[in-house]
Symmetry: C2
Subunit: 205 residues, 2 copies
C-alpha cells in the first residue's frame, strides 16, 4: 500500500513529502494563472505545464478542474492570522464578521463561494464552514478567558454567518449596519429591527 494515496477525506499531506510538494506547486500554478488569464480559459494541461507535473497527476488527485479550483478557493478562505483582539467579545465578533462579509461580498470572494459550493466534492463546503467555525471558537475561548458571555458558535453560524452568506449568494449583500444588527441581535443586546413585520396590509376582504 502506498501511504501517499489520497482518500480525499482531505488528509493533509505530510509537510515535507512529495504529495505536499505537488499540492503546493499545483496550487501556486493555479493562483499564478488566475492572476494572468481569464478564469474560464484556465485548463488542466496549462496548470500541469506550469506546475511541472503531468495532467494525469492532477486528474488522479483532484478529479477535475472544478474540484481543483474549489480546493484552491478553500485554501484562500483559510485565514493567515487569528482574528484581532479588541478586548470585548462582541466587538471581536463584529470586527471578524464585518471583514468576513466584506471579503465574501467582493468579486473574488463570490467566485470563491461559487467554486466551493458549485464543487461536487462531498466535504468541500463542510471544510469551508469549518474555517469560520474555528475562528468563532477561538473568539469564544478568548471571551471565556475574560469571563464574558458568548453565544453558542452554532447559533452564531445560524444567525449571523448564514444570513450574510445567503444574502451575498442572493445578490443582496448586507451593508455594515445590517451586519452590526445581526451581531447585536445574536449577543442579545438589541432586538433585530426586521423582527416585526413592516405594516403588512391586511387584504381588504
Amino acid at each position: 500500500m502506498d501511504s501517499d494515496a489520497t482518500t480525499d477525506t482531505r488528509p493533509t499531506p505530510r509537510p515535507g513529502g512529495r504529495s505536499a510538494r505537488v499540492q503546493r506547486a499545483v496550487h501556486d500554478a493555479v493562483n499564478a494563472l488566475l492572476g494572468e488569464i481569464d478564469r474560464a480559459q484556465i485548463t488542466v494541461p496549462a496548470i500541469a505545464a506550469r506546475a511541472g507535473v503531468t495532467p494525469s497527476t492532477i486528474y488522479r488527485r483532484w478529479g477535475d478542474l472544478g474540484e481543483l479550483l474549489a480546493d484552491v478557493a478553500v485554501e484562500r478562505l483559510r485565514p493567515d492570522t487569528p482574528p484581532e483582539d479588541t478586548g470585548s467579545a462582541q466587538r471581536d465578533v463584529l470586527l471578524y464578521v464585518t471583514q468576513f462579509a466584506d471579503e465574501m461580498a467582493s468579486g473574488p470572494g463570490r467566485t470563491v463561494l461559487r467554486d466551493v459550493i458549485g464543487s461536487t466534492a462531498e466535504n468541500r463546503s463542510g471544510t469551508c464552514c469549518n474555517v469560520t467555525r474555528n475562528q468563532l471558537e477561538l473568539l469564544g475561548e478568548r471571551a471565556a478567558a475574560r469571563g464574558e458571555d458568548f453565544p453558542g458558535v452554532e447559533y452564531l453560524i445560524d444567525t449571523v454567518i448564514a444570513p450574510i452568506i445567503f444574502r451575498i449568494l442572493s445578490n443582496e449583500p448586507p451593508g455594515e449596519a445590517r451586519v452590526a444588527a445581526l451581531v447585536a441581535h445574536a449577543f442579545g443586546t438589541m432586538p433585530d429591527p426586521s423582527r416585526a413585520a413592516p405594516a403588512l396590509s391586511a387584504p381588504s376582504s
Copy 2:
C-alpha cells in the same frame, strides 16, 4: 391594472409568442435529457436537436449551458400551488419550510441550488430568493387576514431560510427538529436551544 400580474421581475415571455414556445421547447428538452443521461454529458447541440431549434438560438438567449441549466433549475423551484392553509400562521410556515428544507436537501434539490448559485447571471439567485419571499409573503397576508401576528418576511429569510440553505450547502442539512426550532424561535414561542454556548471550557489559566 391586471390584478393577476405576477410581481416577478423576470420578463416572462408572452404566453403565446414564439419566444415562449422556444423557451418551453428548450426547457422540456433539458428536463427530458436530465431524465435520460448524466448531467455532465448534456450539451447545447443535444438540447437544440431535441428542442428543434438551432444551437445559436440557445447561445443567443441563454449565453451558455450553465445559464440554461440554472434557468431550468429556477423554473423547478417555482411552486405550482400556494402553501397549504393549516389555520395557524406558525403551522403554515412550519409546513412550508419543512417541505422546502426536504426538497432543497434532496439530491435534485442540491443540484438545483448549485446550478443557481454557480450561475454567473446577476439576477438568477435573486429570482430564486424571490420565489421563497413570495411564498412567505402570501403566508403573512393570510396571517394578517386572520388577525395573527407574523414575523417580518426578511426576518424569516434571515433566521429560518438562510440557515437551512447554508447548512445544506455546508453538507450539514438540518433535521426536522432543527427546522421546527428555527421556526419556533422566529415566532418567539421558544428560545433557540443553540443560543447558549455549550459549556465552553475556560482555559485553565
